[in-house]
Amino acid sequence: MFILEKTTEQVKEVRVVRSVYFDHSGTTPVHPAVAEEMYRYLIGDSFGNPSSVNHLGLQVRKKVTEARDIAAQAIGAAPGEIVFTSGGTESDNMAIHGAAYTNKSRGNHIITSAVEHHAVLNTVKALGKQGFNITILPVDQYGMVSVDDVAAAITDRTILITIMHANNEVGTIMPIAEIGKLARERKIVFHVDAVQSFGKIPVNVDELGANLLSLSGHKIYGPKGIGVLYIRKGTRWRQTLFHGGAQERLRRAGTENIPGIMGLAKAIELAMENREAESARLMVLRDKLIKGLTSIENVRLTGHPVKRLPNHASFLFKCIEGESMLISLDMKRIAASTGSACTSGSLEPSHVLLAMGIPHADAHGSLRLTLGKDNTDDDVDYLLEVIKPIVEKLRNMSPLED
């Protein structure tokens, strides 16, 4: 009897120290195999500059070529169409700014959506202050861009369309292939931010009809500070932001981040190997989270119920402020994310939720849970167990009526 009680106590203790990471859309842990690969290029005689004509440089250059082949193959591109960058933000900036200025003689109109990542939205807005006309398309209640809206927005002056493949905050997957078809018919450069979708759903540049496509390393168990910009052969694009050496065939100046590139290639390899099985596994956990959380009163799913990333579950909790929920979860060692103003560094809640027509007051109560490789069914059970008393406590404290 005594032993049994002890055991129960011990089990409770184990549960308290359990740590759950549910913020994979924010970033992912570096896969050990990726870290090992990177380490090889930080030590010994693998430090060569791939632009240098000596045996140290040439041996690294060969490795960069292999990494480029891996990245190209993963998205159905040719190796010559892959440019390594410092990450998603740089890829987005380079793609949009470069396409806008290279096509200036043909027109000045750029189309994007209201739910893009800030790396896209703020780049387009900056161009709006530099003489470009910009159209920011609205989205529906699920955060979905409409193909008809894109078609209606296109004019003879349109030179660039930039729409994300999947939304980071609500997980909605956009009709990219159809938009790509429209862009191709009208000979408009089409950029796709695939930072969130890559590694989770198929990303093929031909199927999507993309001229330019952005990828990031740290969302797929690779390192931070490395990414890819795919530039389709023949696309009217040139580098307009960074001036320097002739690296990456004049498309991205600066000595290559070799450990980053090698780590990224390893991460891409692993992502390609595991994507289908892992997405199927995570979808089961995601749906369990959705079912469990939406069964709580006044909690609803945000984003599209079906056309959503397999690892992405996002919610609105009425009468609860996101940050207090986040801190409460964090004290139970659950790492999650919110679009509440309090965590954005500004006083505005998420632009994505507002664009979906969600009132300000409700947008403060958002919670995003994004799953990844180390998450288990037990993690989901743990979250569902601890969140109920948190919701109850915060709602009892709230002066708002449900």
Binding site: C319, I320, E321, G322, E323, S324, I327, M331, S340, A341, C342, G345, L347, P349, P359, H360, A361, H364, N396, M397, S398, P399, L400
Partner: protein
């Protein structure tokens, strides 16, 4: 991000709830900006005998509400009116800079409750 004291008041907030038949009720903030604080007071002989709060907001909003109720309890109305938002923040060991503007309104809510009490009293007189 938050001090130990803020976390303590967030985790174990003091004086949460409503006072039925409160002598004064003060509310500040709005749901648009993400913080609403509502403070209830019971007053006897010019002294705050009981005080409770209800808050919708972030960690700082909840902690400052809790702290202000502790600071104001058993104080005279004049003393309560002298309590400032920055004194509340100070008592909590400070707040992150961005929170000083958006979520540090608890003393305002207290003042609103005191003013509401005085207004009610005048009506009765």
């Amino acid at each position: 991000m938050y001090s130990e004291k803020v976390m303590d008041h967030f985790t174990n907030p003091r004086n949460v709830g409503e006072i039925p038949n409160a002598d004064g009720v003060g509310e500040v903030g709005n749901p648009v900006c993400g913080d609403i604080m509502k403070i209830y007071i019971k007053v006897k002989d010019n002294v705050i005998k009981d005080i409770k709060f209800k808050t919708f907001g972030c960690g700082a909003a909840i902690a400052t509400s809790s702290m202000v109720t502790e600071m104001a309890k058993y104080k005279s109305l004049e003393e309560a009116l002298k309590l400032s938002n920055s004194q509340v923040a100070e008592a909590l060991g400070g707040l992150p800079p961005i929170k000083m503007h958006c979520s540090n309104l608890a003393a305002d809510a207290l003042h609103a409750a005191v003013n509401n009490f005085r207004k009610n009293e005048q009506v009765i007189k």
